[in-house]
């Protein structure tokens, strides 16, 4: 993705008044909901500190915990697969599906499956994976990708969704009544659940101690996908493992409160094994696909490793002034928002997703609310450093890709000026006298697209102070 394409997508999003209205409304609501459910500042701070500690402790033992998870899952009858890349993960999923009689697949919401572009891959093999989360269902009908981690269709308003249902769901009348739209989705998908042979899901947390997969949801489609079909395939990023069951309550509280402003989701689904002897339902086979896709490379850097603390709550998106205005699709990669700005460049390479790391004013709104205290602005700064870094041994993919003579000279010039006070005063005086004649080119032109020209003071403060007689020491 080039800087130009990003700018084009941004411009289009900014010009879309309906989009901006939809996002402004939705993000504003999320901000208020989160405030309400985390109203006790001291308790919230305690929880966030705890969430950060749990995640950091687990990450510090990641390989050991993954081994323990695999052993526990295997003991329970869950088949564990490892995939270094999305391509490998897709092949594993395909093989599991094709090794069974039926290939009707239903899917719960999973951002990792988006990373894998799983649906598109399965489609090339003649397998249709039906999205069952209402938001995902809507965008699948319309051939789109999710624009938010938690509410994938948030960029659409009711009228837009009604139109999609009417045009794309066979037999659906045009209605803007939310209860009726929901009923249409329920009817349509219920049939799919009954016919499905394979259910695919993500994983919110995987507990190493007991080999348990923890999934949270409000709709019930996740439980349908993981209980009704005879095969359940769970896909997860390798950073999702936690050590014990008791790590779950604080993380669930943080995730749920941050994602939707609730105390608890409608369903917390703890899966530990396939159907056991004597049980009448549940999948006969449960598979867990552990995906790397660059995470082990991110892990290698202790500072950037913090990226992997993310619990995918989406609250950084909700509080980001940039995301609120450009929406999720303009980011151009799987993960939008602040987490997307640090994750996508590290997975795809700074050369491919680099513009994302600069498209932030470093306002810090995300960091303030992140339930596991990821220092997003610091990591953005780090990625910016890496973009220009001349150090040969950096582990960050695409490092040094933005090196260019113009910027290097500009900053060296800036540093020279600001370390040579007399020269600095002389240049400032020059600008004070002639600054208004600077041609509106480059940065000045971009500034002046939305603002009047900044006016240099005829006499700088240094000069005025000298005239006032204030002393150095």
């Amino acid at each position: 993705m080039t800087a130009d394409r990003f700018e084009t997508d941004v411009d289009r999003a900014l010009a879309d008044a309906q989009l901006r209205k939809n996002f402004a409304f939705a993000m504003g609501s999320f901000i208020l909901k989160r405030k309400a459910v985390f109203s006790d500042a001291a308790e919230t701070e305690r929880l966030r500190t705890l969430g950060n500690a749990i995640k950091q402790s687990a990450l510090s033992r990641l390989p050991e915990l993954l081994e323990q998870l695999e052993a526990s899952c295997t003991r329970n009858g869950i088949r564990v697969h490892w995939a270094e890349t999305p391509a490998v993960a897709n092949r594993i999923v395909l093989e599991v599906i094709e090794s069974h009689a039926g290939t009707r697949v239903v899917k719960g919401k999973s951002m990792v499956s988006e990373e894998m572009h799983l649906n598109a891959f399965l489609a090339t093999h003649g397998i249709e994976a039906i999205e069952t989360d209402l938001g995902e269902f809507i965008i699948q009908l319309n051939g789109e990708t999710p624009s938010h981690i938690i509410v994938p269709a948030i960029h659409k308003n009711k009228a837009q969704i009604s139109k999609i249902f009417h045009e794309k769901v066979p037999g659906a009348p045009y209605t803007e009544d939310v209860a009726e739209l929901t009923a249409i989705a329920r009817r349509t998908l219920r049939r799919r659940f009954q016919e499905a042979t394979v259910g695919v899901s993500g994983v919110n947390f995987a507990v190493a101690e007991t080999g348990t997969l923890c999934l949270v949801e409000n709709e019930g489609n996740g439980r349908m996908c993981t209980t009704l079909p005879s095969v359940h395939i769970a896909v997860m990023g390798l950073e999702k493992v936690v050590e014990t069951l008791e790590d779950l309550p604080p993380l669930l509280r943080l995730l749920t409160g941050s994602a939707t402003g609730q105390l608890v989701t409608t369903y917390v689904n703890l899966i530990t094994s396939p159907r056991r002897e004597g049980e009448k339902d549940g999948p006969q086979e449960v598979h867990l696909v552990i995906l790397d896709n660059g995470r082990s490379r991110i892990y290698a850097d202790p500072e950037l490793r913090q990226t992997l603390q993310c619990v995918r709550c989406g609250t950084c998106l909700n509080h980001c002034p940039v995301y609120t205005r450009i929406g999720g699709h303009a980011y151009g990669f799987v993960y939008p928002g602040p987490i997307g700005k640090i994750l996508n460049p590290q997975v795809e390479g700074l050369d491919k997703a680099g513009p994302l790391a600069t498209a932030s004013s470093l306002c810090g709104a995300c960091e303030e609310v992140c339930p596991v205290k990821i220092p997003i602005p610091a990591l953005l700064r780090r990625l910016r450093n890496e973009s220009y870094s001349t150090a040969p041994d950096s582990a960050v993919l695409g490092h040094g890709c933005r090196q260019n003579l113009t910027e290097r000279l500009a900053w060296k010039g800036w540093a020279f000026l600001n370390t040579h006070p007399r020269l600095n005063r002389w240049v400032t005086a020059l600008l004070g006298a002639f600054g208004e004649y600077l041609p509106p080119a480059g940065p000045l032109e971009r500034w002046m697209r939305y603002r009047t020209e900044p006016m240099f003071a005829p006499k700088s403060l240094h000069r005025r102070i000298k005239e006032e007689g204030l002393t150095d020491e």
Binding site: F25, A153, S230
Partner: protein, 218 residues
């Protein structure tokens, strides 16, 4: 030496510079709240999530259940005959089932029972416990009480002994010693199925039950 994806991934992780960070200290255990306070909180949170909550003396739960069923013109009620609740139901229906739905046992594996499962109006299950601070009931499906009972029918009725209400999820895990022996599937349920995916407007009964009715037995 095998060089699998697993080995390569774990190897890369092991080679990273790291120092083991200790697990965070467990928070000081809060004083256990009074039973009455926990029940009140549980009821209030469940109701806020649009569940219907009835607190009844243990001896009265069947008459209350019958009232609930009659009020809704429910024709078929899925139940688990091999549970305590199920056995009491069977006995009560045997005595007098006038105006009440037909009891339907989860007859066989879901592969053969599916059509009936999707056709029943309601299901009644036990609740193994509940969590007061976040407002959720705990279900432990098993051979006697299959998982889909609390998911497929439009109405789910759960019978919860009030003694099994825990202050928090952590307490439930510790006192129940969950980590020693996890069931196939363990569930927390806090209300009827819902979504806010359309303009953040709440809608109920998306894929799971449209109604959750909790009978808390004192």
């Amino acid at each position: 030496m095998s060089d699998t994806a697993r080995d390569r991934i774990l190897d890369r992780l092991r080679r990273a510079p790291r120092s083991e960070l200790p697990r965070p200290a467990a928070a000081a255990a809060a004083a256990a709240p009074q039973r009455a306070a926990m029940l009140a909180r549980l009821k209030s949170l469940l109701e806020a999530m649009r569940a219907e909550v009835h607190v009844v003396p243990a001896a009265d739960w069947l008459p209350r259940l019958k009232e609930i069923l009659r009020a809704r013109s429910i024709k078929t009620l899925l139940y688990a005959p091999d549970t305590g609740v199920g056995a009491e139901l069977s006995a009560a229906w045997e005595a007098d089932a006038s105006g009440l739905p037909d009891l339907v046992p989860y007859g066989g594996p879901v592969e053969t029972f599916k059509d009936q499962l999707f056709a029943v109006d309601a299901a009644v299950t036990t609740a193994a416990g509940a969590v007061a601070d976040t407002g959720a009931i705990i279900l432990r499906p098993g051979p006697h009480e299959p998982r889909l009972m609390s998911l497929v029918p439009s109405i789910h009725i759960a019978v919860l002994p009030s003694a099994a209400i825990f202050p928090s999820l952590g307490d439930a895990m510790r006192e129940g010693r969950w980590s020693a022996d996890m069931p196939t599937n363990l569930l927390l349920i806090s209300g009827p199925s819902k979504t806010a995916d359309i303009e953040l407007t709440l809608a109920f009964g998306v894929h799971g039950p449209k109604e959750l009715i909790v009978l808390i037995l004192e």
